[in-house]
């Protein structure tokens, strides 16, 4: 085992979560600014985007949570086998508890049986930390995804008669546009969607959610999927749902399509919706647990 400096690692995880909750990522901010330029002056859409951008700026300047729903903590850790991954989990949990006390994270973990709030954002299967062995360096991806946008995320099983969606990319297009339509403003539009084509019911949601870590402007290496991403984004924006569902030209800021092998009998299309306040950061750590660089 490679030992890490636990106080350094603790500070890194604290900073990762602090940034995620309080600083809207640069690519998201840019997309919102561009969206505002597309809306007529003094329209509801432009006013809404103005309030959104002003609020995000206040959060950044004062290190306050962008949204009061600080979401479900979700981490993906990539590290060589020799790294003590349990220590990384301990550091993540400890940072989570500290930031909850400091009011940077809301108390968001409720017991589903008796309704009690654990008060510190931990509970059975919470937080989720997914490990993926890698050659290194150590990389931690962290996301806070709000309940409203999680609630409008959904899964389709193809073929689907109602949508006239078959087991092909045209079927995928029909499902994704249906998901955007059904979400209306409830997922806090304009949002992002990440889709898993294929997989099983469980991997579909996981792959789709992990796809939200892909920044806007990072092209999909698959040409067909890249093309479909543009088509879906353009068509979703023709629906007129607009910021917060109050009407406007921007309903979707971006779309990421991912593929996972499927069982011959199954064809799932899983849509993970993420609100305008898409909060995710990735950091690379050095062998002592300190921040090597922000990704």
């Amino acid at each position: 085992m490679i030992p890490m400096d636990s106080s350094k690692l603790g500070r890194s995880m604290y900073e990762l979560m602090m940034r995620t909750s309080t600083e809207l990522p640069e690519d998201v901010t840019c997309a919102l600014e561009k969206a505002r330029e597309r809306e007529p002056v003094h329209s509801t859409a432009a006013n809404t985007l103005d309030i959104i951008l002003k609020s995000a700026e206040l959060s950044r300047a004062n290190r306050l949570p962008i949204c009061q729903d600080t979401g479900v903590p979700f981490a993906v850790v990539r590290a060589p086998q020799a790294v003590d991954t349990a220590e990384i989990t301990r550091a993540l949990v400890s940072a989570l508890k500290t930031l909850t006390i400091e009011g940077v994270l809301r108390q968001n973990c409720v017991d589903p049986v008796n309704g009690s709030n654990s008060g510190d954002n931990t509970g059975p299967h919470v937080p989720q930390v997914h490990y993926e062995p890698s050659e290194g360096p150590i990389r931690v991806d962290f996301m806070l995804k709000g309940g409203g946008s999680e609630n409008v995320s959904t899964q389709y099983s193809l073929p689907c008669d109602e949508l006239r969606a078959g087991r092909d990319l045209e079927g995928v297009r029909r499902c994704v546009l249906d998901a955007v339509f059904k979400a209306q403003g409830r997922g806090c539009a304009p949002g992002f969607i990440s889709v898993c084509i294929g997989g099983d019911r469980a991997s579909g949601y996981l792959v789709a959610k992990k796809g939200l870590f892909r920044k806007l402007g990072e092209a999909n290496p698959d040409v067909d999927l890249a093309r479909l991403e543009s088509v879906i984004t353009e068509e979703a924006n023709m629906l007129g749902i607009g910021p917060m569902g109050l009407g406007g030209n921007t309903t979707l800021l971006g779309c990421a399509l991912n593929a996972a092998g499927r069982h011959p009998a199954s064809f799932f299309v899983t849509v993970s919706y993420s609100c305008w306040a898409t909060r995710r950061y990735s950091v690379e750590l050095d062998e002592t647990g300190g921040v090597a660089r922000w990704l």
Binding site: I52, S55, R106, F181, G240
Partner: protein, 198 residues
């Protein structure tokens, strides 16, 4: 469509005069309530304070500090549709002056809004710090046993911005956008993708 400054609690005439498309700046005392509060009030629970004319805000704020020094750091709206099973009963029993949240509400609530002549106000989801900056102070908290996000927070606000999206005459911006986007979706789906290269 006008910019209106309103005070909570408000009188029935003001509530009835607000129409879809009006932008409002809310000042005065408002009270938060989300899932647990709504379930409690709709199932016979007594309100710990008089809600008559008040703006009832669907919000689970982040609050730091103890009683006497409570400070709200983030207070955006939550999805109102989750209160749809309870909202009409809560309106009938407690006569609030307006309901505020995000995403709009269903037909049953729309009927209750008409019956009582009150509007639904839409606040900007996620703009939590901006909206919290409109809160001057926390007057008090009730039902804290539901957990902080679910408690009833009485907040003194100044110029909190919102849009009237459902009104006491039965109009709804949400219904309009839903219908319009449905016909647009139908048009978009009339064409199909050209098949990908093989």
């Amino acid at each position: 469509m006008a910019l209106r400054r309103i005070r909570s609690p408000m009188d029935p005439e003001t509530a009835a005069s607000l129409a879809v498309g009006d932008t409002v700046l809310v000042s005065g005392r408002i009270v938060t309530g989300r899932d647990q509060v709504h379930r409690y009030l709709a199932s016979g629970g007594e309100s710990p304070l008089d809600l008559t004319g008040m703006v009832l805000y669907h919000c689970g704020p982040i609050v730091v500090g103890d009683a006497g020094s409570h400070r709200v750091v983030a207070a955006g709206p939550t999805t109102s549709m989750r209160e749809e099973p309870y909202q009409a009963d809560v309106i009938a029993r407690f006569k609030p002056g307006a309901v505020m949240g995000k995403g709009g509400m269903g037909e049953r609530t729309s009927k209750a809004l008409v019956e009582h002549g009150i509007p639904y106000l839409h606040a900007t989801g996620g703009a939590a710090v901006y909206l919290a900056s409109c809160i001057e102070r926390v007057e008090g908290v009730y039902l804290e046993e539901f957990g902080r996000p679910e408690a009833m927070w009485v907040l003194c606000v100044r110029d909190l911005p919102a849009l009237v999206t459902m009104d006491g005459k039965g109009a709804s911006l949400h219904r309009h956008i839903l219908d319009r986007s449905a016909s647009m979706l139908k048009r978009v789906l009339e064409s199909t993708l050209t098949p990908p290269r093989t």
